[in-house]
């Protein structure tokens, strides 16, 4: 019952809810304004989805093509079946290079594999450099939003945190807080031997990886240290360099409501000559961690089209009330509710497919048209079929009885008549606790129909 408990706690937290309300509303408004500047939004969504579908149907070949082209350009490509393997690969590279600190730019995939804990266990200090991630790391918390990790915190809380951890004057001036983080992180960048980043898109045709950001910390992470490790899920690959256009139209507008984020770094291999700028080594880690299994059916396969924009979080009436931490997963919100059970198993997240009213707002805003409600229903069916959830004997009995009655018109009518006569309302417990059950009409539609039809015929 973790989700249920977390959600209740979140609902009782007034400060959290007001921070969430402000942030998700603002995100929604900015997104709508940015959409207005797109020449053909629906067309772009369709093209992007078609590109993703094509890629996923031939993912093996596109990965091989990407890997070959990246290595030809001087990158080393590593393959990792699961989180432990990915952490092992990255940890070993860091150890072999004698790295003591690792600067990191924002990467949800690195959160997914809990890379920071794995590095710390080897005595290597990971330093998050995205402002939001840095705040969350200083606070010893986890990100609560895919795009804005510290969305759950107010400026006052962050001011107090910086005063405590960085020794600055307490302040709730956002510019001062950002400047304090810049100063503190410049020192870390100056001494870092290794940078770890995520990847937004990987181009098979050229072996290029693309990283989007606004702050410049990803550029510092990928150009100052001698070694750069880029971690990506295997679903990040797209076929052609020219395909970047449509994704660059969709992702910033959906994510932050920008026409384009401040920076895109397109990196193809390591530097060519010693006198060039940039890292001498580029390692790319391709992570499966449950993704290949999602290819087995079209309904689950579409989860891999996700470009991690976070628009579904801002649109979701559930997320807007409870925030990201309640989901108990690195991937929160509607997309998290479908990714988490598929990546980590239904066993520990059997409640998540139910953490939705199925209103469909997530599907409407999704830039790659993932049918999240359909996925939620699919996963609910799986929870029932595998009995991953808590045993619900009464519920199962009720649904079998319901099925039996609904399939037999005569039986249905007598049940309704009986219920009306006895004026009973079924005790539906949890169902009616949050929903109104309307009283039965004095006469049913079918009865009414029959009487009127008789009159018609008599006339």
């Amino acid at each position: 019952m973790t989700f249920d408990r977390n959600a209740r706690a979140a609902l009782a937290d007034g400060q959290l809810r007001s921070a969430l309300r402000q942030a998700t509303t603002l995100f929604g408004e900015r997104r709508r304004e940015a959409l207005a500047t797109a020449p053909d939004w629906e067309g772009a969504r369709n093209r992007a989805r078609a590109i993703k579908d094509e890629t996923l149907l031939h993912l093996d070949r596109y990965l091989e093509e990407f890997s070959a082209n990246a290595e030809r350009a001087g990158a080393r490509v590593h393959w990792a079946r699961d989180a432990a393997e990915a952490c092992e690969v990255i940890g070993r590279i860091a150890e072999q290079r004698g790295a003591r600190t690792v600067v990191k730019s924002k990467s949800m995939t690195s959160e997914e594999i809990h890379l920071n804990a794995a590095l710390a266990a080897r005595g290597i200090e990971p330093v998050e450099t995205d402002l939001g991630e840095y705040i969350v790391q200083l606070a010893g918390e986890a990100p609560s939003h895919i795009v804005a990790p510290a969305i759950h915190k107010t400026r006052r809380q962050i001011g107090a945190l910086f005063a405590d951890k960085l020794g600055i004057e307490p302040s709730d001036d956002v510019a001062k807080l950002a400047a304090a983080a810049r100063r503190a992180l410049r020192r870390r960048f100056a001494e870092a031997d290794l940078g770890v980043s995520g990847v937004n898109f990987a181009v098979a045709e050229t072996g290029t990886i693309l990283i989007l950001e606004n702050e410049g910390n990803a550029r510092l992470t990928t150009s100052l240290p001698r070694t750069h490790i880029a971690l990506m899920g295997i679903e990040k690959v797209i076929p052609r360099f020219a395909d970047l256009e449509v994704f660059l139209q969709l992702l910033p507008r959906s994510g932050t409501g920008q026409v384009l984020t401040a920076y895109q770094s397109l990196l193809t291999g390591a530097k060519r000559r010693p006198e060039d700028e940039g890292p001498a080594e580029l390692h790319i880690v391709l992570l499966d961690n449950g993704r290949s299994g999602m290819l087995a059916a079209p309904v689950t396969r579409q989860s891999l089209a996700c470009i991690r924009c976070g628009a579904c979080l801002n649109a979701c009436p559930v997320y807007r009330q409870i925030g990201g931490h309640a989901y108990g997963s690195v991937y929160p919100g509607p997309i998290g509710a479908v990714l988490t059970p598929q990546l980590f198993g239904l066993g520990r997240s059997s409640e998540l497919p139910y953490a939705s009213s199925l209103c469909g707002a997530c599907r409407d805003v999704c830039p790659v048209k993932i049918d999240i409600p359909a996925l939620l229903l699919h996963l609910r069916a799986e929870v029932v079929a595998t009995r991953a959830g808590k045993p619900r004997l009464l519920e199962r009995l009720a649904f079998s009885a319901y099925a039996a009655v609904m399939a037999r018109p005569r039986l249905f009518e007598s049940v309704v008549r009986l219920a009306r006569m006895l004026r009973v309302m079924l005790p539906l417990g949890a169902w009616t606790k949050w929903r109104d059950l309307r009283p039965l009409a004095p006469r049913s539609f079918r009865e009414e129909w029959r009487t009127r039809l008789r009159h018609e015929v008599a006339r």
Binding site: L59, E65, G132, R186, L220, A262, S292
Partner: protein, 244 residues
């Protein structure tokens, strides 16, 4: 070492098995191999079979269409919208003057320029009152102490107000990022209409291509905009029109 060869083989096998299972289950059929597309300039994004009759055809992909008034004005408008400055100059002498003015106005003393000949010429024309650092041999701390970095940009994108910097052309990665002020020299003949246009023209020989749209920014605290968080607070484009 991790047997990454094993991991590779197993991941690819798992992918193939899942896709075969999907195809057997009546999922989308997996037809013959996809021809590796020659995605050269002008290959449309919509070429994946997604029906999109309304797709806009790409703009011209020949040599940059050049400095039509429209492209220049939409580029400068977009620059302003994303919080970048722009000065349009005609000829190198005017550019040198403008550069000195920009640096003086921003109270920049320590200036470091890229190895591009144009940048070197403009910097050597700067009067006294500036400390000119050389990128070669500059330590990280030395670089962090610079007030302004001067580079060229290879392309500009009118639709978005974006600068495109290619690593194959000059050492521009750190100079356009670390100092609080970045001045970028761009020829107006290198303006592209759209992002798609620019993608088609970019040099694939560069191991790093950087797209820059305005100054560094963050909204991570209460979605309040702060400019100049890890990168420059000021991005100033010196747009050079050809001398008549």
């Amino acid at each position: 070492m991790i047997r990454t060869a094993d991991a590779r083989r197993e991941i690819l096998r798992a992918i193939r098995e899942s896709l075969a299972e999907s195809a057997a289950g009546g999922g989308a059929a997996r037809e013959g191999p996809v021809e590796p597309r020659a995605a050269g300039p002008g290959s449309a994004v919509g070429s994946t079979g997604s029906a999109d009759p309304g797709a806009k055809p790409r703009g011209s992909t020949g040599p940059a269409a050049g400095a039509s008034k429209d492209v220049v004005s939409s580029f400068t408008e977009r620059l302003a919208a994303v919080g970048a400055q722009c000065t349009v100059v005609r000829g190198e002498a005017a550019a040198a003057h403008a550069l000195a003015d920009i640096l003086t106005d921003a109270a920049a003393r320590r200036v470091v320029g890229s190895d591009a000949p144009l940048v070197q010429r403009l910097l050597s024309a700067l009067g006294d009152g500036f400390v000119r650092e050389r990128l070669e041999g500059l330590s990280r701390d030395g670089l962090f102490a610079c007030d302004a970095g001067v580079t060229t940009a290879q392309w500009g994108i009118a639709e978005t107000g974006t600068l495109v910097l290619e690593s194959a052309r000059e050492k521009n990665r750190l100079l356009s990022l670390v100092p609080p002020i970045h001045v970028a020299l761009l020829s107006s003949t290198c303006l592209c209409d759209s992002l798609g246009d620019a993608l088609a023209r970019m040099s694939r020989a560069s191991h790093a291509i950087t797209l820059i749209t305005g100054p560094s920014r963050t909204s991570d605290i209460e979605l309040t905009l702060v400019v100049g968080v890890h990168g420059p607070q000021v991005v100033h484009v010196l747009l050079l029109e050809e001398e008549p």
